[in-house]
Every structure is written in structure tokens, then in C-alpha cells.
């Protein structure tokens, strides 16, 4: 039974990675699972300099979902390279660094600093709804998606995955713009902007007022967008948004994702990635699927 997939020229031993920001740099979860069993580890967003993130409360629970407004707190690319990168290198898995910035130059700086590291792919987060500058601002307009992709490609030595925002009228336009800009792959979806009000305190639950919705609540939207994009572009897709089980992951794969990322599920079950992988294998066994490739985009 083959679970190996190739995405943008990089071979993964299985189609499972972690959704950025839900797995740190893997250290905390390495107590629960062997990171070498993942297709790839995707890190929390890394910026050129340390970011403080937003004030607390940073999260709120919603029906079958959660809102987060972490605000991309991160120690900066230097600490990442000194501490997290050597840690991750110990494992036999691909490393995907999620890159964030406030300006195009910020993104390029991080990409340049990582160019000579043995990082396997770069995921460019132009879709974070929780920071005032940068983030989603780049991801909601075709022209800027294409422009930033092009610019980043100048500095990148690794394949570039553009991470798209679902907070748009037509996700296929953004996908085509990223493809036109030279993106090697796409990640979708990032979180959907939401809000929760505490009616007893008569105020916002999140200090940031709005946050990004993730978890099973958003899965139908995410599957729809993956399906639309898979039918609109020729570059591969990392699908994510509410994956909790092997069947959820298979929905994304059948809709056209080459690989999938597990996010919020890690919080509920620290071995979610491994359980999902096993459930996919069970499915393949049950239906006599020899190669997971057969399932990618099989629902038309």
C-alpha cells in the first residue's frame, strides 16, 4: 500500500502535515508522537523579527469550532534557525516553514534567510486575519497575490506554497493569481474571520474583537474551496480546515488536495495526525486502494 505523494517536487512519505500555528515547531507534540511519521511538519508563522502577538483572551470556543487571534506571536527567524530548525532536523520528515510579514520586504527577508537552510518548502501566509498589517491584506486581491508571489519567488530556493484566505468572493481568482505569480503549490484554507460576543459582559470575547474560525465548523467551506481550486489551477493543493478524522482528510483528497494539514484537531487529540493517517490506511485496505494517488481528485 503506497501512501507516498510528491507535491511540488518534494516527496512526502504520507499526505499528512500539521496546520501552521497549531503545532508550534513540533517540540511539544514530540512527547506524544514520533515526528518522523509525519509527511511534513509545518511550523508556526515565522517573521523577520520577534512578534509579540495580540493581547489575551486570544481564543474563544464556538459550536464545533474555535476563534483564534494569536496575532502571529513568534520568536523571529533567528531564534527559529538557532533552536527550532536543529530540533526539527533530527527527524526524518519534511520541514515546511510558514512565513509571515507586514510588508513584501519582510516576507522576502525571511525567505532569504531560509534559502540556504535544509527547509523543504516555504508556506507563505498571506491570509492571517488577525494582524493589522500584512497577512490577509495581501491575500484578498488578485493583483497583490500575484505581485507578492512573484517577488518572493525571486528569493526562494525552496518550492513556494501560497496559503490562501477563504475570506474572498472567488477563491479561484486568488488561486489563479498565485499560479500566475509562480507559486509551486497552494494551501487552503486559512481561518474565516469571525466574532463572539459575551452577552453577560456585553463585550467581545477576544481582545482583538475578531478572530479566525477553524475546526469542523468550517470543513464544508474548506472542501468546497479545495474542489473549486483543484478544478481551476494546475498546481497541487494542501487541503485543510476542520480535519478531525481519516474520513475528513479523504474528503479533501477526493476533492483534489494532494496532501492535507491537521490543525485544531491537535488540540483535542495530540496524536490526531497519526490517528488520521491510520484511518486513511484502514480505508485504503477496506476498499483495496493500492496507491493513495488513485484517490486524489477522484470526485468530479
Amino acid at each position: 500500500m503506497n501512501t507516498k505523494v510528491k507535491i511540488a517536487g518534494v516527496e512526502w512519505k504520507n499526505p499528512i502535515t500539521t496546520a501552521s500555528g497549531t503545532f508550534g515547531s513540533g517540540l511539544e507534540y514530540s512527547e506524544f508522537l514520533d515526528l518522523s511519521n509525519l509527511g511534513a511538519v509545518t511550523t508556526k508563522g515565522v517573521a523577520a523579527i520577534p512578534w509579540e502577538g495580540n493581547p489575551t483572551p486570544r481564543i474563544a470556543e464556538t459550536s464545533s469550532g474555535m476563534l483564534n487571534a494569536i496575532g502571529l506571536q513568534n520568536p523571529g527567524v533567528d531564534v527559529f534557525l538557532e533552536r527550532d530548525y536543529p530540533f526539527l532536523k533530527q527527524f526524518d520528515t519534511n520541514i515546511i516553514v510558514n512565513v509571515v510579514g507586514k510588508t513584501t520586504e519582510d516576507y522576502c527577508k525571511v525567505v532569504e534567510r531560509l534559502a540556504n537552510a535544509q527547509v523543504d518548502m516555504l508556506e507563505i501566509n498571506i491570509s492571517c486575519p488577525n494582524v493589522k498589517e500584512g497577512g490577509i491584506a495581501f491575500g484578498q486581491n488578485c493583483t497583490s497575490v500575484e505581485a507578492i508571489t512573484k517577488e518572493i519567488k525571486k528569493y526562494a530556493k525552496q518550492p513556494i506554497i501560497m496559503k490562501l484566505s477563504p475570506n474572498v468572493t472567488d477563491i479561484t481568482e486568488m488561486a489563479r493569481a498565485a499560479e500566475a505569480g509562480g507559486a509551486d503549490a497552494l494551501s487552503l484554507i486559512n481561518t474565516i474571520t469571525g466574532m463572539k460576543i459575551d452577552v453577560h459582559k456585553r463585550g467581545f470575547v477576544l481582545a482583538n474583537k475578531t478572530g479566525g474560525l477553524s475546526g469542523p465548523a468550517v470543513k464544508p467551506v474548506a472542501v468546497r474551496m479545495v474542489y473549486q481550486v483543484a478544478n481551476a489551477v494546475n498546481i497541487p493543493i494542501i487541503g485543510m480546515g476542520g480535519i478531525m478524522t481519516g474520513e475528513d482528510a479523504l474528503e479533501f483528497i477526493m476533492a483534489g488536495a494532494t496532501t492535507v494539514a491537521v490543525g485544531t484537531a491537535n488540540f483535542i487529540n495530540p496524536t490526531a495526525t497519526m490517528d488520521i493517517l491510520n484511518e486513511i490506511k484502514d480505508y485504503m485496505r477496506k476498499y483495496n486502494i493500492n496507491d493513495i494517488q488513485e484517490l486524489i481528485g477522484c470526485v468530479k
Binding site: 511539544e28 502577538g53 494569536i70 506571536q73 496524536t271
Partner: protein
Amino acid sequence: MTATFKKSVTIISVDKLNADIFSMWIKDEEIVSASKPGQFLSLYCKSGDRLLPRPISICEINKKESTLRLVYRVAGKGTEEISHYKATDKIEVMGPLGNGFTLEGKKAILIGGGIGIPPMLELAKQLQCEKTIVLGYRDVTFLDQEFKYLGQVYISTEDGSTGTKGNVIDAIKANGLEADLIYACGPTPMLRGVKAYATEHGIPAQLSMEERMACGIGACLACVCKTKEKDHHSNVNNKRICKDGPVFYADEIEL
């Protein structure tokens, strides 16, 4: 590194202490043998729409029986759900989590406010020094009888129905209590008061903090608090309450 477990454990009993406070004993050898005072467990709901864990402090540890006690207030839908569980039911938990209290000092005051009282019970049991216990309530008291054998107990209530009328600091002052170390858990305004009191008197204080959590193990950065110095892990002035805490020295953090 302490071991952390995520598993389904058996409930031994659930008792109602008063209108909205419940006491639950669970049994699990691995978790119990790794637990210490000031640590907490993440409890997971059965209702599939409630994804996030409910962090609840360890109130008592019985290593011999491999049992552990949680005392919790029905604050919302999750704790409401959990209050309906019965003996022999299973509950999904992760833990023990966090650093717990550092047992030190010669003469300590243990301060618990409201639902911050439960973790002080196991602390009081394990702390082998001279100790005074100060418990603050809005009105109705709970758990106070169980502290009686562990040290001198002083109570404050906001409505004055038991002990000193006012807050825990009022009780400390009214009774002229002294110490070389303070341990405290309770709502943020109380912790702020304790920190001010400790600073004023030059006493170190270990404070147990609260924040909304998702992962519970330090990965998601949901539960940070502001620190005075740049934190080694975050490289900014933020520490993670679930992993670096929940117990901090008062002078490490901004309150």
C-alpha cells in the same frame, strides 16, 4: 520532563458541594503518580460541538488509591455537562499539565479565592512547613472544613457572612498574619492584590494564573501572560500559562 497522558479515565464519584460547585474523583495510575499540587488536567466534553478542553486544577491526590480529586464550578456549558457525569462513567482527560507549586518556605500563607481554593488543598497537605490558610468567598463557603486539619484557617466573605467582611487581603490584615512566602490562586483582581501586598512586604509569592487554553501543552500560544523579562522560549515578553505556569513568581509577571 514530566510525563503527560491523554486518555479516558474512570469517574469514581461526583458530589455536589453547593449550588454550583462539584467534586469529582477519578482513577488513573499513570496520571496520579505523575501529579503534583498546582498542576491541572484538561477535561474534554462528550458533546461534539464543544471542542476545547476545560482546564481544572488538581485538588487532591491519593497516590495509594491512584485517585485524584477535581473541584469545579459550573461556569458554562462544558462544566455544566461535566456536572451531570456519574460514577463509573468515563471522562477524557489530559494531564498532569503545567509546572505546579514549588514547595519551599518556612512560614507560608496559602491564599485561595473562590474557585482558586481547590488547588490549595493538596498544596496544604504536601507543604511541610508552618502554614496559615486564607480562603476568600463571595458568600457561601465550600471546602473550608477540609482545610481545618492542615493549618489555621481564616475566611473572608464579600458579604461578611463568615469571617472577615471583605477580601483575602482584608482577612490577612485583620488577623495580622505573617509569612516568608505566599502561595495564591484566585481571580486576577485578587492575585493583583496579593502581588501588591507581597511586594510591599518584600515576601516572594507564587501565583497560579488562569487563561483560556486550546492545546494545554505550550504549542498554540493561546494562554500567554505578560512577563517582565523577555522569555527564553517566546523571545518576547510572553510566557505560556499552560506550560511555563500556571504558577509564576509574582515578580516574573505583569498583572
